[in-house]
């Protein structure tokens, strides 16, 4: 089939929560507020942004772990929100998610073998001896020995646990994995092992990833295409080389300048942003970044009109009135 594997259009996820002293008032958190993108087959989109920008909610909405407020998600041409429970379950076999904390993602009372086997059985992909053999193959594929089958999560280090989580995701032979900060809880040397593993699996199985991370260096390493998210929206999206070499949005520029580089000979000027990110309950008028923006041409348009994404270079789109 042609067309992208994942096609997300104008997706919005809002939460209502009680507020005020006695919880009598409600307020709306616009976690994801109108996001569109596609991910092809054997493709990775990197999604970067800081705490509270909506990147995790976006990943969860795409898998329908959270209900959307508006917009649509098509997976392999099918409208995910139009699917009934049985069809959704069949579709879920093809979409998996890996979270940041592998310990919280594994049942502490379930052996690694059972955790990996569960998916096989739920989706009736294998049973009995065939399932046993498949579990060992999967563990081997992620670099865990067959002895892991009978062991419990607490017997493993963080990196090994994350390998087990990846094996469990692979058990159902998915086409797409949303990786939500998959290496953020791991040490440098172990994170490198897991990143290489994800790259190998993608090459071998033709997987597609949505790779969510706050770490810009990690995202540059894994993703040929990158989206930068701020306050529920994409502010810049394009080829990684473009975004990292020629960032156009003032927020992307600040973000990149803030990352410490492990080379004492590079001394770069950091752009220090004023203030804290605004709340997604009360986004500022006009451009969401405008209260912290350092762009020299910032003017009344920025505080009045919200900029849409516009193409500034081939496939490189930026939501800024002043970027050129």
């Amino acid at each position: 089939m042609t067309g992208p594997l994942l096609d997300v259009r104008e997706l919005a996820t809002h939460f209502t929560r009680r507020a005020g002293l006695f919880g009598t008032r409600t307020e709306t958190v616009r976690a994801v507020n109108g996001v569109s993108f596609t991910i092809g087959r054997h493709d990775t989109l990197g999604l970067v942004g800081e705490s509270g920008c909506g990147k995790t909610t976006l990943a969860r909405t795409i898998l329908r772990l959270v209900e959307r407020t508006a917009g649509e998600v098509r997976f392999d041409g099918q409208d995910l929100f139009a699917l009934g429970p049985a069809a959704l379950r069949r579709m879920r076999r093809r979409m998996q998610i890996v979270f940041q904390d592998p310990y919280a993602s594994l049942n502490p009372r379930m052996t690694i073998g059972r955790a990996v086997r569960e998916g096989l059985e739920i989706h009736e992909l294998a049973r009995g001896d065939a399932a046993d053999r498949r579990v060992v193959e999967l563990l081997d594929e992620v670099g865990l020995g067959a002895d892991a089958v009978t062991r419990y999560p607490h017997e493993f280090s963080g990196g090994q646990r994350q390998r087990a989580v990846v094996a469990r995701a692979l058990a159902v032979d998915p086409d797409f994995i949303a990786c939500d900060e998959p290496v953020s809880a791991l040490d440098v040397s172990v994170a490198a092992q897991v990143l290489n593993l994800l790259a190998d699996l993608q090459a071998r199985r033709g997987l597609s990833y949505l790779f969510v991370s706050h770490d810009l260096a990690v995202v540059r390493h894994v993703a040929p295409r990158v989206a930068v998210m701020y306050l529920g929206r994409f502010v810049e999206v394009g080829p990684a080389a473009e975004i990292y070499e020629r960032p156009k949005h003032p927020y992307t520029q600040a973000l990149l300048s803030a990352v410490p580089v492990p080379d004492p000979k590079t001394r770069r000027a950091r752009i220090i942003l004023a203030g804290d990110p605004p709340s997604p309950v009360h986004p500022p008028p006009g451009c969401p970044f405008q209260p912290r923006c350092h762009h020299p041409l910032k003017d009344a348009t920025c505080t009045a009109v919200r900029p849409e994404l516009r193409e500034l270079a081939a496939d490189h789109r930026v939501a800024c009135h002043k970027a050129d």
Partner: protein, 355 residues
């Protein structure tokens, strides 16, 4: 390259031989009883921090870097044991021999500590101004009004907007970045000579981290204090420190001027760490990996502690534990390669590009 096998003592910068260093750790050993043995969390650590300088202490989880920080302040808890023969000297004074009362006067007053998670380090039911004032009154006999004034002055200095109003707020009313500013204000209100910052920005977003780093650098210039920065983040070390010590297995495995360490890592562990970090400035096809994992502190490997994971290891490494050897002036590494540099050839083909 002298290649001498004498266990080197902490390097003294030239021309400073006569001065007493601000902080001097010698043969620091900290153990914890654990099920099935004794964890040797810090196992013979030497470290010098001179007045006013910034030293990085880098390593991964379980290498002993945070325990080192706590041991300096004798805060290893009831289970932790600082072994006999360890020495922690602050301006020549042996902190391990001080009576409890005098030690309390050192903490916060001469040496202050900032942690990773500011919310758990602040008292949730006390207004932040009162918490900082309390820190002042713990160490100096001043009136409440003076202490409060000092608190507000310090909050202004760390760049908290509307310091007077904020001083009346509680920790939960502040953002993560502001809380870390409050922590720093509390740590520095008594003008310590040494600030130990243990992963001070790890819980913060990168743009907030940048603000806090600028702030720390500025305060360091103003107050002339030394900083011992404990972190796993090699980027932070490169950007903020003058000297760096790399820890592995409860020991320092390499120590050098920051530029020298990043230019020519002498220890294979440091080399591996630098190659394993994804780089923003120079993307690479494939990350080099340090195989295996850190062994538990209850059973460090015999010989060199890194040898099971080292791509260069040979027979000597499995049996003889290397001391810190001088690889270049002021640059020391706990590795036999310093004596036998010709062996720096990888047995395995360097994992290069994708097949």
């Amino acid at each position: 390259m002298t290649g001498s096998a004498t266990p080197a003592t902490p390097a003294t910068p030239p021309g400073r031989e006569a001065r007493v260093p601000l902080l001097e750790l010698r043969d620091l050993r900290v153990t914890f009883p654990v099920a099935g043995g004794v964890a040797r969390a810090v196992d013979g650590l030497d470290l010098l921090v001179e007045a006013g300088e910034t030293v990085g202490l880098v390593g991964e989880s379980g290498c002993g870097k945070s325990v080192t920080a706590l041991a300096i302040l004798r805060l290893v808890g009831p289970d932790g044991h600082i072994a006999h023969g360890s020495s922690v000297r602050l301006e020549g004074r042996d902190l391990l021999a001080l009576p409890g009362k005098e030690m309390r006067a050192v903490r916060g007053n001469h040496v202050a500590l900032v942690f990773q998670e500011p919310l758990s380090a602040l008292n949730p039911v006390l207004r932040i101004g009162a918490q900082i004032a309390e820190a002042v009154r713990a160490h100096e006999s001043v009136t409440r009004a003076t202490a409060r004034w000092r608190a507000i002055e310090m909050l202004t200095m760390v760049g908290l907007p509307e310091a007077e109003r904020r001083a009346r707020q509680y920790p939960h009313q502040l953002s993560g970045g502001m809380r870390q500013r409050v922590m720093i204000a509390m740590a520095l209100v008594c003008r310590p000579k040494l600030l130990i910052a243990d992963e001070p920005t790890t819980a913060l977003d990168v743009t907030i981290q940048a603000e806090i780093l600028e702030l720390l650098a500025e305060l360091q210039r103003k107050l002339g204090m030394a900083v011992l920065l404990i972190t796993h983040n090699l980027g932070l070390v490169a950007e903020t420190t003058q000297r760096v010590a790399v820890m592995y297995g409860g020991q320092i495995v390499e120590e050098a001027a920051t530029e020298a360490l990043f230019a020519r890592a002498a220890h294979p562990y440091t080399e591996g760490l630098l190659a394993a970090v994804p780089r923003l400035d120079e993307p690479r096809e494939r990350l080099r990996v340090i195989p295996g994992q850190v062994p538990p502190a209850t059973s460090w490997p015999a010989g060199c502690r890194f040898h099971p994971r080292c791509p260069y290891a040979w027979e000597r490494c499995r049996t003889e534990a290397p001391p810190l050897l001088e690889a270049a002036p002021g640059h020391r590494a706990r590795c036999w390669l310093v004596e036998e540099p010709a062996r720096r050839t990888r047995a395995d083909a360097p994992p290069g590009e994708k097949p």
